[in-house]
C-alpha cells in the first residue's frame, strides 16, 4: 500500500514537473510581486534625475537597432543637448517586441525608463497593466502644444489621459516598381485609384512566364495588408462585425489563385519579409506602411538591394473603396512613453519630450522615416534624403486627406487583434472558407467584447 502511494506521488510529481514546465515559465513570472501595482500609479514625479553635475543613465526599449538608424541618432542628438543624461538602448527585436516588453514591465520595478510603443495593441496592454506614466501633468507643465501632432494625440488618449507621445506617424501607401510598369507598357498607378482599379492593374501587370514571373501585387502575411482595405470607410475594426472584409478576401484569394500575387502559404512557410519580396524586382505593387521608405533607401544606398531590380520605385496613395474619398488611408502611430516603475522619471520625460519634439522629428526625417510632426521644413528634410522619391505623385502620396487608426485604443485591442490574425491565417491558408472565417471572427470578437 505504502509503495503504491509513493509510486502515485512520484508519478504525480513527474507529471507536474514535466507537464507544467511548459507553462512553468508563466507560473514563475506569476509569482512575482502581486501587491506593487497600485503603488505604482501613485508614484509621484521623481526626483533622482539630474541635479546639475549628476550623471544619470536611462534605459530605452527599442527594436531593430541596426536596420533603423533613427534610434541611435535620437540618442546622440539628445545626449548632445543633455550631457548629464546618458541613454542606453536595449533592442528587444521586432517580432516579439510587445510580448517581451510587457513581460519586462510586469511585476515590481523595471530596468526601462523609456519605452517605444510599437502599436495600439502594445499601448493598451501597457496601460491596462499600469506600466506607463500618465503624461498629462508633464504636458501641461511644459506647455506642449498638442496641435502640432495634427490630431494624432486625440486618437491615442485613453479616457482623456495621454500615456505616450507620438514620435513617428506612418501611413499606408502602395509602393510600385516603375521598371515593371515600363516593361509592360502600362501607365503608373495614380493617387486616385479604387480598389477595383487596383485589382485590375495588378492583374494586367502579372506574368506567369517561366523565369520571368511578375507579381502584380504583394500581400505580406500580416492581417493588416488585407483587412485595412476594408477599414478605409471608417468601419470600426473593433466593432465585432467583419462581414465588410469579405470582398477584399475574395479578391486577394482570387488573385492568389491566378498567380497575380505570391501564395500565402509559400510566404508564410518561408517567412519571407515583404522587403525581400519587393527587392527581388518581380513585385509590381506592394501595399505597406511608409516606414518601408527608409528601409528601401538605406538598403539601396548601401548596395544591399540591387538597384537594377528595385531601384526605380515610387509611391502612391492607398486604393480606396468606391464612394470613399481618394487619399484616405490608415495610420500607424509609434509612440514613446515613460514607465511608471522608472526611478528617473524626470530624465526619462526629458528624453520623451525631445524625441517627440520638432527637433526629434527633424532627426527622424533625416533618416527618411516619417516623423509625427510634419512642417514644411521637415518635408524639405525628407525630400533631401538621397534616394527619397521626388516625383509629384510620391510627394502627394505622403499627404493623405483622411487617416484612420489601424486599430483604435481599447482595452481589448490586443485580444481582438489576435483573433483577427488567427482567422486571417486560416482563410489565407485555405483551411476555412471566407464566410466561415469571418463568422468565426464575428463570434470570437463578440465574446471578447462581452467580457
Amino acid at each position: 500500500m505504502k509503495r503504491k502511494i509513493i509510486s502515485i506521488l512520484l508519478a504525480a510529481s513527474m507529471v507536474a514537473s514535466l507537464g507544467l514546465t511548459g507553462c512553468g515559465n508563466s507560473s514563475s513570472t506569476k509569482t512575482s510581486d502581486t501587491t506593487q501595482s497600485t503603488d505604482k500609479t501613485d508614484t509621484t514625479k521623481d526626483t533622482t534625475a539630474a541635479t546639475d553635475g549628476d550623471k544619470v543613465t536611462i534605459n530605452w526599449a527599442i527594436w531593430d537597432k541596426d536596420s533603423s538608424t533613427y534610434w541611435t541618432k535620437l540618442k546622440e542628438g539628445f545626449e548632445e543637448e543633455n550631457p548629464n543624461i546618458t541613454v542606453e538602448l536595449t533592442d528587444l527585436g521586432a517580432t516579439d517586441y510587445n510580448t517581451v516588453l510587457a513581460t519586462q514591465l510586469s511585476g515590481s520595478g523595471s530596468t526601462f525608463d523609456v519605452v517605444s510603443i510599437k502599436d495600439t495593441a502594445c499601448y493598451s496592454t501597457l496601460i491596462e497593466k499600469n506600466a506607463l506614466e500618465p503624461l498629462n501633468d508633464y504636458i501641461t507643465t511644459e506647455g506642449i502644444d498638442l496641435s502640432q501632432y495634427n490630431g494624432i494625440t486625440d486618437q491615442i488618449k485613453a479616457n482623456d489621459v495621454l500615456y505616450e507621445l507620438p514620435f513617428r506617424n506612418d501611413t499606408w501607401v502602395v509602393y510600385y516598381n516603375k521598371d515593371l510598369f515600363d516593361a509592360a507598357g502600362i501607365d503608373y498607378p495614380t493617387n486616385d485609384m479604387t480598389f477595383a482599379e487596383y485589382d485590375k492593374l495588378a492583374r494586367s501587370l502579372s506574368s506567369n512566364e517561366f523565369g520571368k514571373q511578375v507579381y502584380g501585387a504583394h500581400y505580406h502575411t500580416w492581417r493588416s495588408t488585407i483587412q485595412l482595405f476594408g477599414a478605409l470607410d471608417g468601419t470600426d475594426i473593433l466593432g465585432g462585425n467583419y462581414d465588410f472584409l469579405k470582398p477584399y478576401y475574395e479578391t486577394v484569394l482570387s488573385e492568389q489563385a491566378d498567380g497575380v500575387c505570391q501564395d500565402y502559404a509559400t510566404l508564410s512557410t518561408a517567412s519571407l519579409h515583404y522587403s525581400n519580396a519587393f527587392s527581388q524586382g518581380n513585385v509590381a505593387m506592394l501595399n505597406i506602411g511608409s516606414w518601408f521608405i527608409s528601409t528601401l533607401i538605406t538598403k539601396l544606398n548601401a548596395g544591399e538591394y540591387d538597384s537594377s531590380l528595385c531601384g526605380n520605385w515610387g509611391i502612391v496613395q492607398y486604393p480606396h473603396p468606391e464612394g470613399v474619398e481618394a487619399g484616405t488611408t490608415i495610420g500607424t502611430v509609434t509612440g514613446i512613453a515613460v514607465t511608471s516603475a522608472s526611478e528617473k522619471k524626470d530624465a526619462a520625460w526629458k528624453f520623451v519630450q525631445f524625441a517627440s519634439s520638432e527637433e526629434g522629428a527633424k532627426i527622424v526625417a533625416e533618416t527618411g522615416s516619417m516623423p509625427a510632426i510634419v512642417t514644411s521644413e521637415i518635408s524639405a528634410i525628407l525630400a533631401s534624403v538621397p534616394g527619397f522619391p521626388l516625383d509629384q505623385n510620391s510627394k502627394e502620396a505622403l499627404t493623405p486627406t483622411k487617416v484612420y487608426m489601424d486599430i483604435p485604443y481599447s482595452k481589448h485591442s490586443a485580444e481582438i487583434d489576435a483573433v483577427l490574425s488567427t482567422y486571417h491565417k486560416d482563410i489565407m491558408n485555405g483551411d476555412i472558407s471566407v464566410d466561415d472565417g469571418i463568422a468565426k471572427m464575428n463570434e470570437d470578437v463578440q465574446k471578447v467584447l462581452a467580457q
Binding site: S28, K30, T31, S37, N429
Partner: protein, 314 residues
C-alpha cells in the same frame, strides 16, 4: 528470569541502535536530496501551486489579483480555440507516441546487431536529436515549402501531381502530419538510445533457451525481447506522452510563419496557454487552461501506470 530480562535489554539496545543508524542514514539521504528539492520547490512546486490558485483569480501580472471563482474555467471551456487546441494536441500525441516508439525500438534492435559500421549508424540516428530545433525547422520548412520546396517539386515532376493539388504541408489537416513527422524524426534517435540501453540488459541465456525450444526470430522477439524490455517501454511511453502534450516549439517553428502566430488549424494547447498569459495577460484564464493540461497528462499517465501494473501482474 534474570537472563530473560537481560535478553530483552539487549534486544532493546539493538533496536535503539538500529533506529539511530536508520535515522542517521535518513539524514544523509535527505541532505543529498535537499539542494535539488529547494530548486524544485522554488522554481516548480511553488509556481505550480500558485497556478492552481491563480486559475480561480483574475490577474494581469501587474495589478492586484481579484477572486474570479470558476469564471476562468467557464471562459476556457466555452472557447472554441481551446477545444481545437486540445483536439490537435491529442491527435499529435496519438500519432507521435506509437510511431516514435515502434521506430526507435526497430532502430535499436537493428543497431544492436553486430553489423558493420554500427557505431556510425548509431551516431547518425542520434544526429537529429542533437541538432538545434530552430536550424532544423528552417531546413524542413524549405524542403516542404509548398511552391518552392523539393518535396512538392518531386510530387509535381515525378508523380505528376497537378499544381492545384500540391499539398500545403503547414496548413489545414496536413499540418498535424508535419508536426508528427518532424517529431518522430527528431526524437527517434533519443529513444533508440534508451532502448539500446534496455537491450543490453536482456539476458542472452533466454535466447539460447528459446532457440533450444525451437523458437524462430519473431517468437524470440515476442516472448523474450519484448517482455524483457517492458520497463524500458513503459519509461519511453510515459516520457513520450508527457513531452507530446507539451508541444509548442515545433508548432511555432513549423507553422508560425514570420510572426510566430498560429492559425486555428495549427494551434496547440501550450500555445493557447502562452497566448492567454503573455499576449492577453489573462494569467487566470491561462492557468485554468494549464490545469486542464495538467489534468489531461495526469489522467493519461495514471492510466499508463495502471496498465503497467496489470502487465506486471500477468
Amino acid at each position: 528470569m534474570e537472563n530473560a530480562t537481560k535478553c530483552i535489554d539487549v534486544e532493546k539496545e539493538k533496536m535503539i541502535s538500529r533506529k539511530k543508524r536508520e535515522r542517521k542514514k535518513n539524514v544523509v539521504a535527505y541532505s543529498f536530496i535537499t539542494p535539488n528539492f529547494i530548486g524544485f520547490a522554488v522554481f516548480t512546486l511553488v509556481p505550480i501551486l500558485f497556478a492552481f490558485l491563480l486559475a480561480f483569480m483574475e490577474w494581469d501580472g501587474s495589478n492586484q489579483p481579484t477572486w474570479a471563482g470558476t469564471s476562468n474555467f467557464q471562459s476556457v471551456f466555452s472557447d472554441s480555440l481551446f477545444w481545437k487546441s486540445i483536439e490537435h494536441t491529442i491527435i499529435y500525441c496519438i500519432g507521435t507516441v506509437p510511431i516514435t516508439m515502434l521506430l526507435s525500438l526497430l532502430l535499436a534492435i537493428v543497431l544492436n546487431q553486430k553489423v558493420k559500421g554500427r557505431a556510425f549508424f548509431r551516431t547518425i540516428s542520434f544526429f537529429p536529436y542533437v541538432g538545434s530545433l530552430v536550424a532544423i525547422t528552417a531546413v524542413w520548412t524549405m524542403i516542404f515549402n509548398p511552391t518552392k520546396g523539393p518535396v512538392n517539386a518531386i510530387l509535381y515532376y515525378v508523380f505528376h501531381v497537378a499544381n492545384d493539388n500540391l499539398p500545403n504541408w503547414f496548413a489545414g489537416k496536413l499540418v498535424m502530419v508535419s508536426y508528427i513527422m518532424f517529431s518522430v524524426w527528431k526524437y527517434m534517435g533519443y529513444y533508440m538510445v534508451i532502448y539500446l540501453a534496455g537491450l543490453q540488459n536482456v539476458n542472452t541465456e533466454l535466447y539460447e533457451a528459446a532457440s533450444l525450444d525451437g523458437a524462430n526470430i519473431f517468437q524470440k522477439f515476442r516472448y523474450v525481447t519484448l517482455p524483457q524490455l517492458r520497463p524500458t517501454t513503459f519509461f519511453v511511453v510515459v516520457m513520450l506522452t508527457i513531452n507530446c502534450f507539451k508541444i509548442y516549439d515545433i508548432a511555432i517553428m513549423l507553422a508560425g510563419g514570420g510572426d510566430n502566430k498560429l492559425g486555428s488549424s495549427a494551434t496547440v494547447l501550450v500555445y493557447y496557454i502562452y497566448q492567454n498569459a503573455f499576449q492577453f495577460w489573462k494569467l487566470g484564464k491561462s492557468s485554468a487552461a494549464a490545469l486542464a493540461l495538467f489534468a489531461l497528462v495526469l489522467i493519461v499517465t495514471m492510466i499508463q501506470f495502471k496498465g503497467e501494473e496489470r502487465f506486471a501482474n500477468d
